[in-house]
Amino acid sequence: MSAQPAQENVVTRSLTQIGACGLFLLTILAAVPRSFRHGRETVRQLWFVGAMSLTIIMVCGLFVGMVLGLQLYYVLSIFGGTAASGTVVAIAIYRELGPVVTALLFAGRAGTSITAEIGLMRATDQIAAMEMMAVDPIAYVVAPRFLAGVIAMPLLCCVFCALGIFGGHLVGVNWLGIDNGTFWSNMTATVDVWKDVVNGVLYKSLAFGAVVSLIAVFQGYTTAPTSEGVAYATTRTVVASSIAILAIDFVLTAFLM
Protein backbone atom coordinates (compact mmCIF):
# COMPACT_ATOMS: atom_id res chain seq x y z
CA MET A 1 0.00 0.00 0.00
CA SER A 2 2.81 2.38 0.78
CA ALA A 3 4.75 1.72 -2.42
CA GLN A 4 1.91 3.12 -4.50
CA PRO A 5 2.91 5.68 -7.09
CA ALA A 6 2.26 9.23 -5.94
CA GLN A 7 -1.39 9.69 -6.73
CA GLU A 8 -2.21 11.78 -3.70
CA ASN A 9 -0.14 14.77 -2.79
CA VAL A 10 2.70 14.61 -0.29
CA VAL A 11 0.78 16.18 2.57
CA THR A 12 -2.09 13.72 2.41
CA ARG A 13 0.30 10.81 2.11
CA SER A 14 2.39 11.94 5.07
CA LEU A 15 -0.69 12.51 7.20
CA THR A 16 -1.99 9.07 6.27
CA GLN A 17 1.34 7.54 7.24
CA ILE A 18 1.48 9.38 10.55
CA GLY A 19 -2.10 8.41 11.37
CA ALA A 20 -1.55 4.77 10.44
CA CYS A 21 1.67 4.80 12.49
CA GLY A 22 -0.20 6.12 15.54
CA LEU A 23 -2.90 3.47 15.22
CA PHE A 24 -0.20 0.85 14.82
CA LEU A 25 1.36 2.04 18.09
CA LEU A 26 -1.98 1.45 19.86
CA THR A 27 -2.16 -2.04 18.35
CA ILE A 28 1.35 -2.81 19.57
CA LEU A 29 0.65 -1.48 23.07
CA ALA A 30 -2.49 -3.60 23.23
CA ALA A 31 -0.45 -6.63 22.19
CA VAL A 32 2.39 -6.02 24.69
CA PRO A 33 0.80 -8.07 27.54
CA ARG A 34 0.28 -10.99 25.17
CA SER A 35 3.86 -10.71 23.93
CA PHE A 36 5.14 -11.48 27.45
CA ARG A 37 4.39 -15.11 26.65
CA HIS A 38 7.15 -14.80 24.07
CA GLY A 39 9.58 -13.31 26.57
CA ARG A 40 12.48 -15.26 25.14
CA GLU A 41 11.85 -13.67 21.76
CA THR A 42 12.11 -10.22 23.37
CA VAL A 43 15.43 -11.21 24.95
CA ARG A 44 16.68 -12.45 21.58
CA GLN A 45 15.72 -9.15 19.96
CA LEU A 46 17.34 -7.23 22.81
CA TRP A 47 20.52 -9.14 22.07
CA PHE A 48 20.20 -8.37 18.39
CA VAL A 49 19.33 -4.63 18.48
CA GLY A 50 21.11 -3.81 21.74
CA ALA A 51 24.14 -5.91 22.43
CA MET A 52 25.08 -6.21 18.76
CA SER A 53 24.95 -2.40 18.40
CA LEU A 54 27.37 -1.87 21.27
CA THR A 55 30.51 -1.79 19.14
CA ILE A 56 29.41 0.98 16.81
CA ILE A 57 27.91 2.95 19.70
CA MET A 58 31.09 2.72 21.76
CA VAL A 59 33.40 3.64 18.91
CA CYS A 60 31.23 6.56 17.84
CA GLY A 61 30.81 7.77 21.43
CA LEU A 62 34.56 7.76 21.90
CA PHE A 63 35.16 9.78 18.75
CA VAL A 64 32.37 12.26 19.44
CA GLY A 65 33.84 12.90 22.89
CA MET A 66 37.34 13.22 21.49
CA VAL A 67 36.39 15.69 18.79
CA LEU A 68 34.41 17.72 21.34
CA GLY A 69 37.42 17.84 23.62
CA LEU A 70 39.64 18.98 20.78
CA GLN A 71 37.28 21.65 19.43
CA LEU A 72 36.46 23.01 22.87
CA TYR A 73 40.10 23.26 23.81
CA TYR A 74 40.85 25.49 20.83
CA VAL A 75 37.76 27.64 21.23
CA LEU A 76 37.99 27.96 25.01
CA SER A 77 41.72 28.68 24.99
CA ILE A 78 40.86 31.97 23.22
CA PHE A 79 39.07 33.04 26.40
CA GLY A 80 41.47 31.31 28.75
CA GLY A 81 38.65 29.03 29.80
CA THR A 82 39.97 25.59 28.93
CA ALA A 83 39.16 24.48 32.47
CA ALA A 84 35.49 24.61 31.51
CA SER A 85 35.89 22.05 28.75
CA GLY A 86 34.95 19.14 31.03
CA THR A 87 31.68 20.86 31.86
CA VAL A 88 30.89 21.66 28.27
CA VAL A 89 31.78 18.17 27.02
CA ALA A 90 29.51 16.62 29.64
CA ILE A 91 26.58 18.98 29.10
CA ALA A 92 26.75 18.82 25.31
CA ILE A 93 26.90 15.03 25.35
CA TYR A 94 24.21 14.51 27.99
CA ARG A 95 21.74 17.01 26.67
CA GLU A 96 22.02 16.65 22.92
CA LEU A 97 24.77 14.65 21.31
CA GLY A 98 24.39 11.48 23.34
CA PRO A 99 20.67 10.85 22.78
CA VAL A 100 20.55 12.24 19.24
CA VAL A 101 23.65 10.56 17.81
CA THR A 102 22.82 7.28 19.54
CA ALA A 103 19.30 7.41 18.09
CA LEU A 104 20.58 8.17 14.58
CA LEU A 105 23.08 5.31 14.79
CA PHE A 106 20.42 3.07 16.25
CA ALA A 107 18.08 3.88 13.36
CA GLY A 108 20.82 3.01 10.89
CA ARG A 109 22.14 -0.07 12.65
CA ALA A 110 19.04 -1.68 14.21
CA GLY A 111 16.04 0.11 12.69
CA THR A 112 16.90 -0.87 9.14
CA SER A 113 17.43 -4.51 9.98
CA ILE A 114 14.13 -4.66 11.87
CA THR A 115 12.34 -3.18 8.85
CA ALA A 116 14.09 -5.50 6.41
CA GLU A 117 13.40 -8.58 8.54
CA ILE A 118 9.70 -7.89 9.07
CA GLY A 119 9.36 -6.71 5.48
CA LEU A 120 10.84 -9.96 4.18
CA MET A 121 8.54 -11.91 6.48
CA ARG A 122 5.68 -10.02 4.90
CA ALA A 123 7.04 -10.51 1.37
CA THR A 124 7.56 -14.25 1.84
CA ASP A 125 4.10 -14.67 3.40
CA GLN A 126 5.47 -15.75 6.78
CA ILE A 127 3.20 -13.27 8.49
CA ALA A 128 0.17 -14.59 6.63
CA ALA A 129 1.24 -18.09 7.64
CA MET A 130 1.36 -17.07 11.31
CA GLU A 131 -2.12 -15.64 11.11
CA MET A 132 -3.21 -18.92 9.51
CA MET A 133 -1.79 -20.80 12.52
CA ALA A 134 -3.59 -18.44 14.91
CA VAL A 135 -0.28 -16.95 16.07
CA ASP A 136 -0.71 -13.22 16.49
CA PRO A 137 2.14 -11.67 14.41
CA ILE A 138 1.83 -8.39 16.31
CA ALA A 139 2.41 -10.14 19.64
CA TYR A 140 5.04 -12.56 18.34
CA VAL A 141 7.00 -10.51 15.77
CA VAL A 142 6.29 -6.81 16.21
CA ALA A 143 5.88 -6.22 19.93
CA PRO A 144 9.14 -7.96 21.01
CA ARG A 145 11.14 -5.89 18.52
CA PHE A 146 9.42 -2.70 19.65
CA LEU A 147 10.00 -3.48 23.33
CA ALA A 148 13.60 -4.45 22.69
CA GLY A 149 14.20 -1.12 20.94
CA VAL A 150 12.61 0.87 23.77
CA ILE A 151 14.71 -0.96 26.38
CA ALA A 152 17.96 -0.97 24.42
CA MET A 153 18.04 2.70 23.45
CA PRO A 154 18.55 4.26 26.93
CA LEU A 155 21.15 1.63 27.78
CA LEU A 156 23.04 2.27 24.55
CA CYS A 157 22.79 5.99 25.18
CA CYS A 158 24.33 5.62 28.65
CA VAL A 159 27.22 3.64 27.18
CA PHE A 160 27.64 6.26 24.46
CA CYS A 161 27.74 9.08 27.01
CA ALA A 162 30.22 7.29 29.26
CA LEU A 163 32.53 6.66 26.31
CA GLY A 164 32.05 10.25 25.16
CA ILE A 165 33.16 11.60 28.54
CA PHE A 166 36.10 9.22 28.45
CA GLY A 167 37.03 10.46 24.96
CA GLY A 168 36.78 14.10 26.02
CA HIS A 169 38.94 13.34 29.05
CA LEU A 170 41.46 11.49 26.91
CA VAL A 171 41.95 14.42 24.54
CA GLY A 172 41.53 17.26 27.03
CA VAL A 173 43.54 15.93 29.96
CA ASN A 174 45.90 13.33 28.56
CA TRP A 175 46.84 15.02 25.30
CA LEU A 176 46.22 18.74 25.67
CA GLY A 177 47.15 19.02 29.32
CA ILE A 178 44.05 20.41 30.99
CA ASP A 179 44.37 19.80 34.71
CA ASN A 180 42.71 16.53 35.69
CA GLY A 181 41.24 17.90 38.90
CA THR A 182 39.79 21.02 37.28
CA PHE A 183 38.30 18.93 34.49
CA TRP A 184 36.37 16.74 36.90
CA SER A 185 35.58 19.29 39.59
CA ASN A 186 34.16 21.79 37.10
CA MET A 187 32.11 19.01 35.59
CA THR A 188 30.75 17.75 38.88
CA ALA A 189 30.07 21.29 40.04
CA THR A 190 27.87 22.15 37.06
CA VAL A 191 26.27 18.96 35.76
CA ASP A 192 23.01 18.19 37.50
CA VAL A 193 21.81 14.64 37.87
CA TRP A 194 18.14 15.45 37.16
CA LYS A 195 18.39 18.20 34.61
CA ASP A 196 21.18 16.71 32.57
CA VAL A 197 21.40 12.97 33.12
CA VAL A 198 17.78 12.02 33.74
CA ASN A 199 16.11 14.62 31.48
CA GLY A 200 18.76 14.49 28.81
CA VAL A 201 20.02 10.95 28.67
CA LEU A 202 17.09 8.91 29.95
CA TYR A 203 13.93 10.72 28.87
CA LYS A 204 15.18 11.70 25.47
CA SER A 205 16.64 8.33 24.64
CA LEU A 206 13.48 6.56 25.82
CA ALA A 207 11.42 8.75 23.51
CA PHE A 208 13.85 8.25 20.63
CA GLY A 209 13.94 4.51 21.22
CA ALA A 210 10.15 4.32 21.06
CA VAL A 211 9.96 6.49 17.94
CA VAL A 212 12.72 4.71 16.00
CA SER A 213 11.42 1.24 16.91
CA LEU A 214 7.86 2.22 16.04
CA ILE A 215 8.87 3.60 12.65
CA ALA A 216 11.02 0.54 11.95
CA VAL A 217 8.35 -2.06 12.76
CA PHE A 218 5.63 0.01 11.09
CA GLN A 219 7.56 0.39 7.85
CA GLY A 220 8.42 -3.31 7.87
CA TYR A 221 4.90 -4.46 8.69
CA THR A 222 3.21 -2.28 6.07
CA THR A 223 5.76 -2.79 3.31
CA ALA A 224 4.68 -3.74 -0.21
CA PRO A 225 5.37 -7.51 -0.40
CA THR A 226 8.04 -7.21 -3.09
CA SER A 227 11.81 -6.91 -2.96
CA GLU A 228 11.46 -3.34 -4.19
CA GLY A 229 8.93 -2.61 -1.47
CA VAL A 230 11.34 -3.87 1.21
CA ALA A 231 14.08 -1.66 -0.19
CA TYR A 232 11.74 1.33 -0.12
CA ALA A 233 10.63 0.59 3.41
CA THR A 234 14.21 0.32 4.66
CA THR A 235 15.12 3.66 3.14
CA ARG A 236 12.02 5.27 4.56
CA THR A 237 12.84 3.94 8.02
CA VAL A 238 16.14 5.82 8.04
CA VAL A 239 14.72 9.02 6.54
CA ALA A 240 11.61 9.15 8.70
CA SER A 241 13.52 8.18 11.86
CA SER A 242 16.16 10.86 11.34
CA ILE A 243 13.59 13.58 10.76
CA ALA A 244 11.47 12.38 13.68
CA ILE A 245 14.49 12.23 16.01
CA LEU A 246 15.60 15.77 15.27
CA ALA A 247 12.08 17.22 15.38
CA ILE A 248 11.20 15.45 18.63
CA ASP A 249 14.55 16.49 20.06
CA PHE A 250 13.62 20.12 19.56
CA VAL A 251 10.22 19.66 21.17
CA LEU A 252 11.62 17.69 24.10
CA THR A 253 14.39 20.21 24.66
CA ALA A 254 11.83 23.00 24.72
CA PHE A 255 9.75 21.14 27.30
CA LEU A 256 12.47 19.63 29.46
CA MET A 257 14.70 22.66 29.80
Binding site: R40, V43, R44, L46, W47, F48, G50, A51, L54, L76, S77, I78, F79, G80, G81, T82, A83, A84, A90, Y94, I151, A152, P154, L155, L156, C158, V159, C161, A162, I165, D179, T182, W184, S185, M187, T188, A189, T190, V191, D192, V193, D196, V197, V198, V201, L202
Partner: protein, 287 residues
Protein backbone atom coordinates in the same frame (compact mmCIF):
# COMPACT_ATOMS: atom_id res chain seq x y z
CA UNK B 1 13.20 -26.47 26.62
CA UNK B 2 15.27 -25.61 29.67
CA UNK B 3 18.37 -25.16 27.55
CA UNK B 4 19.51 -21.59 27.86
CA UNK B 5 19.94 -19.78 24.55
CA UNK B 6 23.46 -18.59 23.83
CA UNK B 7 22.43 -14.96 23.45
CA UNK B 8 20.92 -14.74 26.95
CA UNK B 9 24.29 -14.24 28.61
CA UNK B 10 25.28 -11.57 26.13
CA UNK B 11 21.99 -9.76 26.58
CA UNK B 12 22.41 -9.87 30.34
CA UNK B 13 25.91 -8.44 30.00
CA UNK B 14 24.58 -5.68 27.75
CA UNK B 15 21.92 -4.70 30.29
CA UNK B 16 24.43 -4.74 33.14
CA UNK B 17 26.85 -2.64 31.10
CA UNK B 18 24.12 -0.13 30.30
CA UNK B 19 23.13 0.27 33.93
CA UNK B 20 26.76 0.45 35.00
CA UNK B 21 27.27 3.29 32.52
CA UNK B 22 24.19 5.05 33.87
CA UNK B 23 25.40 4.67 37.45
CA UNK B 24 28.78 6.03 36.44
CA UNK B 25 27.27 9.05 34.69
CA UNK B 26 24.93 9.82 37.55
CA UNK B 27 27.38 9.46 40.41
CA UNK B 28 30.79 10.39 39.05
CA UNK B 29 30.14 13.20 36.60
CA UNK B 30 27.34 15.13 38.26
CA UNK B 31 26.93 17.17 41.39
CA UNK B 32 26.02 13.95 43.19
CA UNK B 33 29.77 13.29 43.33
CA UNK B 34 30.17 16.29 45.64
CA UNK B 35 27.38 15.39 48.03
CA UNK B 36 28.91 12.39 49.69
CA UNK B 37 31.50 13.77 52.04
CA UNK B 38 32.54 12.86 55.54
CA UNK B 39 30.98 14.34 58.60
CA UNK B 40 30.97 18.10 58.44
CA UNK B 41 30.25 21.05 60.66
CA UNK B 42 28.47 24.29 59.86
CA UNK B 43 29.84 27.79 60.16
CA UNK B 44 28.01 31.04 59.51
CA UNK B 45 29.39 33.95 57.55
CA UNK B 46 27.65 37.23 56.83
CA UNK B 47 28.33 38.97 53.57
CA UNK B 48 27.25 42.42 52.45
CA UNK B 49 27.09 41.15 48.89
CA UNK B 50 27.37 37.58 47.67
CA UNK B 51 27.50 38.36 43.96
CA UNK B 52 26.60 35.24 42.01
CA UNK B 53 27.48 32.77 44.78
CA UNK B 54 25.23 29.71 44.63
CA UNK B 55 24.37 26.91 46.99
CA UNK B 56 26.80 23.97 46.74
CA UNK B 57 29.54 26.37 45.64
CA UNK B 58 32.91 25.20 46.94
CA UNK B 59 34.56 26.49 50.09
CA UNK B 60 38.32 26.52 49.70
CA UNK B 61 41.32 26.99 51.93
CA UNK B 62 44.57 27.69 50.09
CA UNK B 63 42.71 26.73 46.93
CA UNK B 64 41.82 23.27 48.22
CA UNK B 65 38.16 22.34 48.50
CA UNK B 66 37.22 21.78 52.14
CA UNK B 67 33.44 22.04 51.98
CA UNK B 68 30.54 23.71 50.28
CA UNK B 69 27.95 26.41 50.71
CA UNK B 70 24.97 24.86 52.44
CA UNK B 71 22.45 27.65 52.27
CA UNK B 72 22.18 31.33 51.48
CA UNK B 73 19.53 33.32 53.31
CA UNK B 74 18.97 37.04 53.30
CA UNK B 75 18.65 38.47 56.78
CA UNK B 76 15.90 41.08 56.30
CA UNK B 77 16.67 42.88 59.53
CA UNK B 78 20.29 43.70 58.82
CA UNK B 79 20.37 43.55 55.00
CA UNK B 80 23.21 41.04 54.93
CA UNK B 81 23.32 37.62 53.34
CA UNK B 82 23.68 34.82 55.90
CA UNK B 83 25.74 32.09 54.24
CA UNK B 84 26.04 28.72 55.98
CA UNK B 85 29.24 26.90 55.12
CA UNK B 86 29.40 23.17 55.55
CA UNK B 87 33.05 22.32 56.19
CA UNK B 88 34.61 18.89 56.42
CA UNK B 89 35.25 17.75 59.99
CA UNK B 90 38.94 17.17 59.21
CA UNK B 91 39.42 20.91 58.86
CA UNK B 92 38.20 21.89 62.29
CA UNK B 93 41.17 24.05 63.24
CA UNK B 94 40.13 27.23 61.48
CA UNK B 95 41.07 30.27 63.60
CA UNK B 96 38.06 32.37 64.55
CA UNK B 97 39.57 35.53 63.08
CA UNK B 98 39.92 33.95 59.63
CA UNK B 99 38.64 36.00 56.72
CA UNK B 100 36.00 34.55 54.40
CA UNK B 101 36.13 36.12 50.96
CA UNK B 102 34.04 35.53 47.85
CA UNK B 103 36.31 34.91 44.89
CA UNK B 104 35.67 34.21 41.24
CA UNK B 105 37.54 31.37 39.59
CA UNK B 106 39.03 32.86 36.47
CA UNK B 107 37.38 35.59 34.49
CA UNK B 108 34.22 33.69 33.63
CA UNK B 109 34.23 31.06 36.34
CA UNK B 110 31.86 30.41 39.18
CA UNK B 111 32.23 32.06 42.53
CA UNK B 112 33.51 30.31 45.59
CA UNK B 113 34.37 31.18 49.18
CA UNK B 114 38.01 31.31 50.11
CA UNK B 115 39.01 31.24 53.79
CA UNK B 116 42.28 32.89 54.75
CA UNK B 117 43.57 31.84 58.16
CA UNK B 118 43.86 34.40 60.87
CA UNK B 119 46.29 34.28 63.76
CA UNK B 120 43.94 33.66 66.68
CA UNK B 121 44.56 30.70 69.00
CA UNK B 122 40.81 30.07 69.25
CA UNK B 123 39.24 27.97 66.54
CA UNK B 124 35.78 28.68 65.21
CA UNK B 125 33.32 26.18 66.69
CA UNK B 126 30.56 24.32 64.93
CA UNK B 127 27.65 26.73 64.51
CA UNK B 128 30.00 29.64 65.09
CA UNK B 129 30.39 32.68 62.90
CA UNK B 130 33.28 33.93 60.84
CA UNK B 131 33.05 37.60 61.70
CA UNK B 132 35.52 38.86 59.13
CA UNK B 133 34.23 38.68 55.57
CA UNK B 134 34.90 40.39 52.29
CA UNK B 135 31.95 40.69 49.93
CA UNK B 136 32.04 39.74 46.27
CA UNK B 137 33.72 42.29 44.06
CA UNK B 138 31.19 43.57 41.59
CA UNK B 139 32.66 44.01 38.17
CA UNK B 140 30.70 47.23 37.70
CA UNK B 141 32.16 48.78 40.84
CA UNK B 142 35.68 47.81 39.84
CA UNK B 143 35.21 49.21 36.36
CA UNK B 144 33.65 52.30 37.85
CA UNK B 145 36.66 52.87 40.07
CA UNK B 146 39.02 52.17 37.23
CA UNK B 147 37.45 54.33 34.56
CA UNK B 148 35.61 56.86 36.65
CA UNK B 149 38.76 58.11 38.36
CA UNK B 150 39.08 61.80 37.72
CA UNK B 151 35.59 62.51 36.50
CA UNK B 152 34.85 65.99 35.31
CA UNK B 153 36.46 68.81 37.20
CA UNK B 154 34.32 71.07 39.28
CA UNK B 155 33.95 74.48 37.78
CA UNK B 156 33.96 76.38 41.05
CA UNK B 157 36.79 78.63 39.96
CA UNK B 158 35.05 79.43 36.70
CA UNK B 159 36.19 78.29 33.31
CA UNK B 160 37.24 79.61 29.95
CA UNK B 161 36.41 78.09 26.59
CA UNK B 162 38.62 77.07 23.70
CA UNK B 163 37.57 75.61 20.39
CA UNK B 164 38.93 72.63 18.52
CA UNK B 165 38.06 71.06 15.20
CA UNK B 166 38.17 67.32 14.61
CA UNK B 167 37.53 65.38 11.42
CA UNK B 168 35.98 62.67 13.58
CA UNK B 169 34.96 62.85 17.24
CA UNK B 170 33.83 59.23 17.52
CA UNK B 171 31.33 58.91 20.34
CA UNK B 172 32.44 62.08 22.14
CA UNK B 173 29.51 63.85 23.71
CA UNK B 174 28.93 67.05 25.63
CA UNK B 175 29.98 66.66 29.28
CA UNK B 176 32.87 64.32 28.48
CA UNK B 177 36.00 65.13 30.49
CA UNK B 178 38.91 67.14 29.17
CA UNK B 179 42.12 65.76 30.59
CA UNK B 180 45.71 66.82 30.70
CA UNK B 181 48.27 64.27 31.88
CA UNK B 182 45.31 62.03 32.64
CA UNK B 183 43.78 64.47 35.12
CA UNK B 184 40.47 66.12 34.36
CA UNK B 185 40.80 69.87 33.90
CA UNK B 186 37.44 70.63 32.32
CA UNK B 187 34.65 69.26 30.23
CA UNK B 188 33.31 69.32 26.71
CA UNK B 189 30.72 72.04 26.45
CA UNK B 190 29.29 71.27 23.04
CA UNK B 191 29.90 69.11 20.00
CA UNK B 192 28.51 70.43 16.73
CA UNK B 193 28.99 69.67 13.07
CA UNK B 194 30.25 72.63 11.03
CA UNK B 195 27.98 72.96 7.97
CA UNK B 196 30.65 74.80 5.97
CA UNK B 197 33.93 73.07 6.80
CA UNK B 198 32.22 69.68 7.21
CA UNK B 199 34.05 68.73 10.39
CA UNK B 200 33.21 68.54 14.09
CA UNK B 201 33.40 71.77 16.08
CA UNK B 202 34.00 71.10 19.77
CA UNK B 203 33.94 73.70 22.52
CA UNK B 204 35.99 72.80 25.60
CA UNK B 205 35.38 74.45 28.95
CA UNK B 206 38.66 74.45 30.91
CA UNK B 207 39.05 75.41 34.54
CA UNK B 208 40.54 78.89 35.06
CA UNK B 209 43.21 77.38 37.31
CA UNK B 210 44.84 75.95 34.21
CA UNK B 211 45.48 79.20 32.43
CA UNK B 212 49.06 78.48 31.46
CA UNK B 213 48.37 75.96 28.71
CA UNK B 214 50.55 76.79 25.69
CA UNK B 215 48.56 77.94 22.67
CA UNK B 216 50.21 75.39 20.38
CA UNK B 217 48.94 72.48 22.48
CA UNK B 218 47.28 69.59 20.68
CA UNK B 219 43.84 68.11 21.43
CA UNK B 220 43.11 64.44 20.84
CA UNK B 221 40.01 62.30 21.31
CA UNK B 222 40.93 59.21 23.32
CA UNK B 223 39.01 56.31 24.75
CA UNK B 224 39.49 55.28 28.38
CA UNK B 225 40.33 51.61 28.27
CA UNK B 226 38.70 49.17 25.95
CA UNK B 227 35.08 49.87 26.76
CA UNK B 228 35.33 53.25 28.45
CA UNK B 229 33.90 56.56 27.36
CA UNK B 230 35.73 58.99 25.15
CA UNK B 231 37.43 62.12 26.38
CA UNK B 232 39.54 64.97 25.03
CA UNK B 233 43.20 64.92 25.98
CA UNK B 234 45.26 68.09 25.84
CA UNK B 235 48.91 67.53 24.99
CA UNK B 236 50.87 70.66 25.98
CA UNK B 237 53.07 72.31 23.35
CA UNK B 238 56.15 74.47 23.82
CA UNK B 239 54.89 77.93 23.00
CA UNK B 240 55.45 80.67 25.62
CA UNK B 241 52.00 82.13 24.88
CA UNK B 242 49.14 80.68 26.96
CA UNK B 243 45.69 79.81 25.59
CA UNK B 244 43.12 82.51 26.05
CA UNK B 245 39.36 82.45 26.20
CA UNK B 246 37.92 81.80 22.70
CA UNK B 247 41.18 80.55 21.19
CA UNK B 248 41.22 77.63 18.82
CA UNK B 249 43.43 74.57 19.17
CA UNK B 250 44.85 74.03 15.71
CA UNK B 251 46.58 70.72 16.22
CA UNK B 252 43.99 68.00 16.72
CA UNK B 253 43.87 64.25 16.49
CA UNK B 254 40.57 62.58 15.69
CA UNK B 255 39.03 59.61 17.45
CA UNK B 256 40.22 56.17 16.45
CA UNK B 257 37.32 53.98 15.52
CA UNK B 258 37.37 50.57 17.18
CA UNK B 259 36.32 48.99 13.90
CA UNK B 260 39.34 50.49 12.14
CA UNK B 261 41.67 49.28 14.87
CA UNK B 262 40.28 45.77 14.87
CA UNK B 263 40.36 45.71 11.11
CA UNK B 264 44.04 46.65 11.16
CA UNK B 265 44.72 44.07 13.86
CA UNK B 266 42.96 41.24 12.10
CA UNK B 267 44.60 41.95 8.78
CA UNK B 268 48.09 42.20 10.22
CA UNK B 269 47.77 39.44 12.84
CA UNK B 270 49.54 36.26 11.74
CA UNK B 271 48.64 32.80 13.12
CA UNK B 272 51.76 33.01 15.29
CA UNK B 273 50.45 36.13 16.98
CA UNK B 274 47.18 34.45 17.81
CA UNK B 275 48.97 31.50 19.34
CA UNK B 276 50.92 33.83 21.58
CA UNK B 277 47.74 35.58 22.61
CA UNK B 278 46.12 32.28 23.47
CA UNK B 279 49.10 31.28 25.60
CA UNK B 280 48.96 34.56 27.45
CA UNK B 281 45.38 34.03 28.47
CA UNK B 282 45.91 30.49 29.64
CA UNK B 283 46.93 31.13 33.27
CA UNK B 284 43.71 33.07 33.83
CA UNK B 285 41.74 29.88 33.62
CA UNK B 286 43.91 28.03 36.11
CA UNK B 287 42.95 30.02 39.18
Amino acid sequence: MSQRPSYAVGTGLFIVLGFAALAYLATQTTSVANIHQGSSYTVDAHFANIGQLKERAPVKIAGVRVGQVQSIVLDPASEVADVKLSIDQRYSKIPEDSVATIFTSGLLGDQYIGIQYGSSKNVVAAGGTLALTKPAQQLEEMLGKFFGAGGSADNLGGSYTVKARFTNVGALSAGAPVKMAGVAIGSVQSVKADPVKLDAYVVLAIDKKFSQIPDDSAAAVFTSGLIGTQYVAIQPGGSPEPLKNGDELVLTQSALQLEDLIGKFLVSGSPGDKKAAADDTKPAGKH
